[in-house]
Amino acid sequence: MTDLTIDTELVRKILTGFIHTEITRSGFSRAVMGLSGGLDSALACFLAAEALGPENVLAIRMPYKSSSQDSLDHALLVIDQLGVQSLTMPITEMVEPLFQRFPDMENRRKGNIMARERMIILFDQSEAFKGLVLGTGNKTEILLGYSTLYGDSACALNPIGDLYKTQVRQLSRAMGVPDVVIEKAPSADLWLGQTDEGELGFTYEEVDKLLFLLIDQRYTPEECVESGFPADFVRSVIQRVRRNQFKRVLPPIAKVSNRTVGYDFLYLRDWGT
């Protein structure tokens, strides 16, 4: 019931097909993406290089002064292994003036600003490189809302958003992402010593199994508890998923007319292509 094992060859075929089709049908042939040195963006980069050819992928490293050297090194490993185009754009000098304006700014605000600064760079390079911005958020992160709205979640298309973190690991292994990237502790690297699992308070292994039951298998909270998950854990995860729904939808438009975008003006983005 909680076996999240995927058929990696099949998923690889679908996701590379998705990237290629959705970028080319809108008249583009290239992709732009942030490469953090972490696993999600590494996998997205592998998929994009395979889908579009490495010469059509621009991977951008955007370190802040406190970013770990490992992050930069690991991103470079991926760039070198794939032969994708790359750019390094330190964000320190861009965000520092805003930080200094509010001397008591805490980590969360700074982290959000950094994530949004990176978004600005990606979408600017999207224009310059004539490529669409590839998202790198996974299903676990999207469900838990563990991202910055209009920051790291901003993209033109997302190939890995329906894969749980543990499935991202499995596909990454199959595609040859460097071991060191797969095995290190996941981190947003927004401040020193930050890790996802430390901040969230549980491991991806645990929460993925729970989310798989709740979301994919439609278990009730009670059934999850009966399946062996601690009641507090189940409750807190459900609350997290619910409270972060706002990050997963477009802002609601107040309906006053007979036909309103989002309610009764319904077209796929692929309309006409």
Binding site: L10, V11, I14, F18, T21, E22, F212, Y267
Partner: protein, 291 residues
Amino acid sequence: MNLNIAMVQLNTVLGDVEKNLQKHLEYIEQARKGGADLVVFPELSLTGYALQDLAPTVSHRPDRSDPVFAPLLEASRQIDIIVGFVEEDDRNRFYIASAYLSGGEVLHVHHKVYLPTYGLFDEGRFFAWGDNVRAFDTRFGRVGMLICEDFWHASLPYLLWLDGADIFFFTSASPGRGITGSVDACNSGRLASAVWVDDINRAYAGLFTSFVVHANKVGFEDGLNFWGGASVFTPDGEQLVKGPEYREDLVFASLDLNQLHRTRARLPLLRDERVALVQRELGRIIDSRNK
């Protein structure tokens, strides 16, 4: 007697009927050159699948005065054609429809009866449901057509079988899903939904000792993937051909219609089917529900 068919695993331009029509005419010509007697296009092949508010703007009427059907009907003088489209009836209801064209005429139109409106599907919001299912005669014998969700309900293939269909033409725009789960599907290189469709089609072929032909769309629409994998199952429940998955392609198959004789001589399920019993029991069940 052999029936040579060609199944088109078509990728479509969403909502652009003119572009899709050109592809149809090209594939029809290729199928004809390849020796096919009949070419089968998937569900909504002239329009693409996830139409939403595009539905009323891409509708057509299957007759000679229609600019899209005129060239298709002309082409059907050379080769029979099954095509998927949105039909607007004379009271302006919109249907997901399949038309069988032959000898310059429309032999039959099927309106999709079961419109999935759950999960990722929202067809009931945009379309009217069809209200009948009929087998019909072609130059290759009596056949029936169903569209995607129609054959997820066992009653419709069963009715076609009783109505005389020996060949079932199923067409789909089936969004692929399911990358974990059943032992069968996992690591077979196939999606759970694709395995499931082939399983039920094999079952229909075997249980109804008939041919089942399935043509499915390929490509992406936003995040939805369509897997193709056209297939034919024989009256023995054996897979005759299997098209590639995730690739636009024209898949040929030659159906030895004499197999119907051989299989039904061995396995007289049709002969032994007790239709009156079914009717009697259905009547009882419906009556008891109404009490």
